[in-house]
Symmetry: C2
Subunit: 479 residues, 2 copies
């Protein structure tokens, strides 16, 4: 679509959509303002028709779109009013889920052993060794391939885990209660950086650290959490957004706030000094320690927004290393999946894009709650990683607002003059605009155990949203 | 000065300087672009002539201006290469300065008892009681008025203190060593907020807290500092600039970083648990705790840049509650003073501008090192306090760069796409442009002991800089 301004001597064209037309004008010496635009549903007439019927109509409160609008409003109210508080540390996951049995939880949508990416297979082997179910990596692999050990997505347990995201029965869990809505969510604990299970490493050093987390870190933090009567994670997330974190790939300020909350009570506690010192030093030396807590706070928030009839808000985005999958509030436990993209990022010295695993982990739950990519305006340092400017960081938050239902006044973005972060991804808006929700992310090596090789940003695949939209339309009787 | 663009039908004028001309064009229906401009030296012909002779000339390396340029380059190199490290806590100021005697140090340039503002008199009375030199406020006042107790500016001892800035012989000091240049600087410790000595309060609660600082906080921090082998304050300042602090009026991130540096070592120490808990809780609950440390790090930095022959860089800005005074690197210990302005700020409920004391304290040392007002781009939250936007915060840092010699690559400002903070205020540039260096500041009630009643920003008075410029010209044989 082109509009030619004829009043002036030189050809001036505003071209909307397909770039081809603009190019020919440019070649003829004319000036062109190219507007990015694509038709609703990306040119798919059927999708465009469904979309049109899913738009709310103020004069018809009973139409499908108006019902969706009302449901989304309720979802946003639940997100905004959520109060995720770290209320406990469970010393073992099996204490929280007595029916867990010999099962390993993992990031993303369900995936068979043979389809798991390298880092997830490596992490599964490590967890099997840590549990003592096998005494060698080879034996563990045989058991896992044979089906001796069950798998399930973290999300099916209201849990989340970064990267491979493995939670095994002996691992301790952070327990977060959404005080406003009464639901809970769970996550494992950060292992720090370097050779770690979540990137697929499974050597003796990795298992030893997991044991330290189970026997030293978790009991110490459990004591601290009880001592202070719970830690308000949303307040920390809100503060961190004022301090350069987007609270997904950067958690430097949030981690320090968490440390400040537990330092004095721990120092005064009856616990022996060594575990207290080790715990405080571990957190002080790991600026991403709060990531798991930001994830679980986001999960506790989004669980409260899940299960609202007719609601088109995304309540989970999760990547198993092969696919990116989303859940939608009104569409139950069903995952809408598509192959994951590879992040655009900065690679550590010695690594390149082709070494990278497709996007991995449950951490995108942060974006569903308005953090991470949606709050990039708060964290220009991250955009600088991929060669971007402050203006680009702000641009991402502005762009992503277009696919959000509302703004979250509790999550204020300084660089947008303190307006709220985008709140509630509406699949209708994603399909309508073609704007693919953006995640901030770490990049895993595709081979098990190599670890993190970079950090960057990635767009979630559009087919997740179009498939979900079709399902919602069907459910609403729209065709 | 006006330039009229005649090619178009309607009168279009670019007016430079005096607004009167612009107004008449506007009244005649023309359009005007008004450029703020004022002649060098603000129209003072003698000053303009001095300025002209103090400009460097690449073809004349021996001219006065070229000598100043070289001296300033050296000053900037010393600022940029400085490494202020907290190496010790002195349990009593008299241990550091055995010749201190019965003397009280204070903020700003020298000032007689009768000329001291309310908060400073109140703080002097409090310090006299704390030292046990008098047993009532009335008795203390008599002694102070009679001259029984000596006064001296902190800066004469390479020390700094916020607000009234009183340092008495029994107070503990932070000892900071500039590892790159071998000089040291000193400051007192933050008392937190509320009724505090630095705002002129001197009741029993205030004295008791000072005692706690002397007997609990200081020995505990001394232990921590020795345990970790010194704390790199510049690294903390640099990190804090990436986290929403300008490290003068906002120190939230810097305080958390300091806490993280001492928490684990203190938790593991042989010290009893109570002082450790009290110390960590005091710092965790006081987001401005790092202010004194940012000030002393800045002082240790600027001492290294002081005393360079021919140098026109400002090495101290200090306010005694009546005057704002500056020192210049090439002009020795002389102060150039002018009456302080009142801050433009946000007042706490129940207070108004007329309750405020003129600008007070040594904390403007931060600005001489490129922090505070010069780094406002890092801290939009502070500009929001005075009704400003992010764009204004960035604008201040850009504007103030015009009076700086260079940029400090060690102090990176995210919102300026990570370029360095302004470095080295050049009095020539201040007088030439008329841009008055801007400070972020707390606002004290003018009556002793009421405390802080607001926060805001204030411009330092131009006459400080013009007087210094005249002195420099004389010293360089320019007239």
């Amino acid at each position: 679509m082109s509009a030619v301004l004829l009043e002036q001597e030189k050809l001036s064209v505003v071209n909307v959509g397909v770039d081809m037309f603009a190019q020919s004008v440019r070649e003829a010496g004319g000036s062109v303002l190219q507007l990015d635009w694509q038709p609703p549903g990306n040119g798919d007439a059927e999708l465009a028709w469904l979309l049109a019927q899913l738009v709310g109509d103020a004069n018809d409160p009973d139409c499908a779109g108006s019902r969706v609008d009302r449901a989304n409003q309720l979802a946003v109210e639940r997100i905004v009013s959520s109060q995720p508080v770290l209320t406990d540390v469970a010393l073992h996951a099996r204490d929280v889920w007595p029916d867990m049995g010999r099962r390993l939880l993992h990031a993303g949508a369900p995936v068979a052993w043979r389809d798991m990416c390298g880092p997830m297979q490596g992490a599964m082997i490590g967890a099997t060794l840590y549990e003592g179910w096998a005494d060698s990596a080879a034996a563990a692999e045989v058991m896992l391939a044979r089906g001796d050990i069950g798998f399930a997505p973290n999300h099916d347990y209201d849990a989340v885990g970064p990267m491979a995201g493995i939670i095994s029965p002996s691992m301790p869990l952070f327990v977060v209660r959404n005080q406003a809505h009464g639901n809970s969510a769970y996550t494992n604990m950060s292992e720090g950086i370097g050779r770690v299970l979540r990137f697929g490493a499974n050597g003796p050093d990795v298992i030893e650290r997991l044991r330290w987390i189970e026997t030293v870190l978790a009991p110490t933090l459990k004591h601290a959490v009880h001592e202070v009567g719970g830690i308000d994670l949303k307040a920390i997330q809100a503060q961190a957004l004022l301090m350069g974190d987007e609270v997904h790939s950067r958690n430097a300020a949030a981690t320090l706030h968490f440390l400040a909350a537990i330092a004095a009570p721990l120092a005064a506690s009856v616990l022996p000094r060594d575990p207290v010192r080790e715990t405080l030093a571990f957190i002080a030396g790991n600026s991403q320690f709060f990531l798991n807590l930001s994830m679980v706070a986001s999960k506790a928030t989004m669980v409260a927004a899940h299960g609202i009839e007719d609601c088109s808000v995304v309540t989970a985005i999760a990547r198993n290393g092969g696919t990116t999958a989303i859940r939608v509030s009104g569409l139950g436990r069903r995952w809408f999946e598509a192959p994951s993209g590879n992040p655009r990022g900065l690679y550590f010295p010695g690594f390149k894009a082709s070494d990278g695993n497709p996007d991995l982990g449950d951490s995108a739950i942060c974006e569903t709650a308005g953090l991470g990519g949606f709050s990039l305006a708060a964290s220009p340092a991250l955009v600088q990683l991929v060669g971007g400017t402050v203006a680009e960081a702000i641009g991402y938050s502005r762009e992503l607002q277009q696919v959000a239902v509302a703004r979250n006044p509790a999550l204020s973005l300084p660089n947008l003059d303190f307006i709220g972060a985008p709140c509630g991804i509406d699949i209708r808006k994603v399909v309508d605009t073609g704007i693919q929700p953006l995640l901030t992310t770490g990049i895993a090596h595709k081979e098990a155990g190599v670890g993190q090789i970079g950090a960057g940003i990635v767009r979630t695949p559009l087919p997740c949203y179009t498939a979900a939209l079709r399902a919602l339309a069907t459910q609403l009787g729209v065709d």
